[in-house]
Symmetry: D2
Subunit: 350 residues, 4 copies
């Protein structure tokens, strides 16, 4: 076992990140040390790299980012009982406190004291990462390696889609970043009768079509409201999954949802959103849900089951695969808007 | 049977209303003619009287307003099978179309084509009113007469309170008009562990206390957010029932609801409401519901059961009782802010 | 318009049925006369034909049976507003009273006073059938004609499958008559991760496999309990849909459901069933549901949406197509156990 | 701190139990040592004392029984963070494994590997008891001491009552042991419109009346089915909470539940139960739930909230208070059928 490893490090409170040699982290009695096979880049990692306002308020460098990954168990503390060396694993990176009311009542995904590995503690853009046993998710070898590295965002999609009835429903997804794209596949697999995708970026829209969204609409050009009404018999959609966080997408969400429908909000907003509560919510009798993280661990059970059943084809979303030394290039790719999910290989080339 | 009756009539597109003699309305094969014992005044009637913007856009004079009432059956069409002369009844005044998707799937309270008796057709501020059989709600003689005349707003309260879990929950009610006041009683009867009332008007706040709200807070003076947090162990309330429709009450609703809580919106807004979706909804993982009308007829079953069980003391909310000829005086009383529910007696003095 | 038509008639309280000429039925102000394109044979029709104990207690001859069909509107009463001549329709044959508590609270499928067309009144094994407007279900021309004739049993399957969570769940279906076979397709379309079929009849088991059940087990030969446990990681299935009504199938249902799972019972039993409540229900914390009919009309919306989306391949279940004059031969085929769904064409050959 | 304590000990595989001096138990890093103020006797303790078949199969003497208690923290392991010396506590005595599917998906109350303190490990009929930190439930000093000692069975009642809708519902409780009696209070507090109690023992029936059951029926004398039908307008009750486990009580449960109603089963059965599934479950479209333990820790939150709100008067159920040295006399009292909940005081007289 070596003493050091390569990792992406955010060394200081400024834009950028380096790949450098650091000590392999130590682990406690109930922790698991995992050798990372693949880690993938999230929009959050871009915020950290760019050092935007959110990052300045939340991140305390030095930090190894990275919260989407898979790998294999190489060592663990003496109280760990549920894994063995060589186990193929991913992990829930939201470390819940276990003691707040939410944690004690089955709502750990909205824990009052959550810490996120890769945000609040060293993460997975590294050859090794340390994870508490309770957060380890053992994987069936049938789960493809690449999919195993994107369970965190896939879980966001699964959580959002399955937060209400979906079978036989008409669904619209506003915003087709990776989570929105995954949500298309999940909604379709879970019995959605129709999935509209609404996305301004052409690259993403084209992947949405590969995921079987029909139609994939461009709100800069298409009359989205009219098209949705026309194709739902004048009714509007049963369910909107809001993944964009942009005011105009949110406006569309409330316009196209039918009376009695559901809007599940996942896309984070940076600006205030203005609504006419009477018309937008009350008279229509709709339900609006805030969706955060993944249910621990119902969402993980659900996505594992769907993946094992072969019900999700996620390949179109994985657009880039890079060695960890090229992490900054990956970030640049992401900024072009022409990459969706980028996989990073910390241990040798893929 | 006489040919004419006295009724409150909105004669033309202008403020005001008269009490005048009009023909007793005819009724169809499946209609029921009811002799009104008590009708009660709603905020909507005030809008109609004042001829505000909403009224100008919705009301087509001449119109007899009034949509909260009770009375007895005096005649009915030849296809009517479920009532007999003398039956004590109230009615759901939202006449649903029965044919839209919402109606056919148990959601008639958000019917696409609803007509409201007393708004879109002649209503109950009259000696007689015509109601379709399907909308008649037969009452147990055990239900007090006065309560029977306010089932419409009581139903709004019951629908809102029971739109999610309430037993053993902490609850805040923002806005204590009659529906808010009823909601205090309903929440308490349905097992709420604590009911905060938040209301700026002193008269209403004092009734809220009679309804067992504890504490009844004055947002113009009390630090509502701090008090709620302190009295919920730092957590916030499980459920907010928003009955005010005012931007600052809605702001409070989102501030005091706990992570994973529910906000049920009933109070109609006249201005746009601005929210920070990320902080207010998504990270907290809350559910926001729009509440409209009463479920047909689950809500009616529920409120009848609660009333028969003697679980609701609504007397403090009924502040005024007037003869129909004094209708305009009743409206003036309502405008003072010192009256809550005003009962109108169309047939002789009470 | 002719005055008479051919129909299958159960003329008297004895086994058998004739095809004979009868008067085309008259219709009321709110009724619709439908020219039947296809009617299909249900197990209930077999009971009526055979004149078993159930039939003797329920049926009052003369009766035209048949409660699964599609056709086109040829005439209607003067109060009918929602159809026009030539409309392609099917119908919910459970005519609910509309006035009992269940009907008034969105549970018309368990109406206290239900009458079933084809059981309690003349049905669809005829050139024409009369249906109340409220029970008509207008069909999109995209729905295949053959599927349109089997919406009643498909609806039973949809109601059963969607009576609880199904996406990402492991499911077992005990009993693969037509409804069980349809349930395989529906469960799979609605996101089930694994669908076990358990059926003793080889013909049915082979269709179950075509519907994508995997595995289709023969309880007379396979060790069902062990196989299910092994293929669910020792857990048991999340959901059992019981479609057999046979004591040994029901025993299996309770054996293989996991702790916290759901058993939805549709298969009618003719014998008492004995359970160990402590072990079978209480310690496992399971939920057992009785499923009757189809939700009016949520189930109809759901199945229409799934069919329009092309998510259900039901062809393997339709094994026979016969002219109405050969009705008795159809019954004989059904009794062989080698036919599943038999379509009957009352108007000319198909 | 002393080295020894008095405790009730089941010394060997035979009927009876002794009060004897034993070592105060040691505790681990994440355990809490509690000085017991009150422990209360459960029917399970009677089985253990009597050494019946169930006890012979489950209990491994020597054992200190007792799984209902309250007390104060006197010491704890060095990883414990959530309590301090002197804290007033009770505990969930079902120690869930935390690793099975049920535990990881919010269903720890049906953990596959549960161990029960007082059944599988030394319990609370002792001066001191050791509890894992995760199972400790800290109590508000406002909770009365006596109530704090009966949270385990009260939690069974709360779990059962709140396992479905209860507000404005008619409810029948079959079997009025302590949990059934508590359920009366909980149902009433949670908004039940009517609570029937059905119990053959006169002592229990009289307490049921004190708990506000109305009526409390004696199935050996009253025509329960007729009375329930008559007092529910011919409908039957919305909810049955089955707490007896006796075949005739279960028969009654299925007879009196209305179409679409709920039966929640808590009472353990020792004999097979025979049902007519078609008539009893399927045509009625009812839901039958198995209820086990208490939800961890939603039930605990709920009962704490109800108790703090002063919504539950449980005093009539507490019939006896004894010093621990008189444990065997308590068991004898229980066997008379004239005692309901018996409180045991291990540390000095009460």
């Amino acid at each position: 076992m070596p003493k050091t490893m390569l990792a992406v490090v955010k060394p200081e409170a400024a834009p950028g990140a380096d790949v450098r040699e650091v000590k392999i982290p130590g682990f406690g009695r109930s922790d698991v040390l995992v050798k990372v096979r693949i880690a993938s880049i999230c929009g959050t990692d871009l915020h950290i790299f760019e050092w935007d306002r959110w990052a300045q308020g939340r991140i305390h460098p030095p930090l190894i980012p990275g919260h989407e990954f898979c790998g294999e168990v190489v060592a663990f503390g003496n109280e760990v009982t549920s894994v063995k060396e060589g186990d193929f694993v991913s992990a829930e990176m939201h470390v819940a406190c276990g003691k707040c009311v939410q944690c004690r009542t089955g709502e750990a995904h909205i824990c009052q004291n959550v810490k996120i590995i890769g945000v609040d503690a060293d993460g997975a853009f590294a050859e090794y990462v340390v994870i508490p046993e309770a957060n380890i998710w053992k994987l069936d070898p049938e789960i493809p390696l690449e999919y195993a590295s994107i369970l965190d965002p896939l879980g966001n999609a699964v959580h959002t889609v399955l937060a209400g009835e979906i079978a036989a429903k008409t669904v619209a997804i506003t915003g087709c970043g990776p989570i929105g794209l995954f949500a298309i596949a999940v909604a379709w697999a879970a019995g959605a009768a129709q999935v509209f995708a609404i996305e301004i970026n052409e690259h993403r829209r084209s992947i949405a079509q590969q995921m079987k969204a029909d139609p994939a609409l461009d709100p800069s050009r298409d009359d989205v409201n009219s098209i949705v009404l026309e194709r739902t018999g004048g009714l509007g959609v049963d369910v909107v999954l809001e993944m964009a966080g942009h005011p105009s997408a949110i406006r569309t969400a409330f316009d196209i949802v039918r009376r009695g429908g559901r809007i599940s909000l996942l896309g984070l907003t940076s600006k205030p959103i203005s609504l006419n509560f009477s018309e937008d919510i009350i008279f229509k009798g709709i339900t609006v849900q805030g969706i955060n993280g993944r249910r621990m661990y119902q969402t993980w059970c659900q996505m594992t089951a769907l993946l094992k059943a072969g019900k999700l084809d996620l390949h179109p979303v994985i657009t880039d695969r890079i060695a960890m030394k090229d992490f900054s290039k990956g970030i640049e790719r992401l900024k072009t808007g022409e990459a969706s999910k980028i996989l990073v290989y910390p241990n040798g080339t893929r």
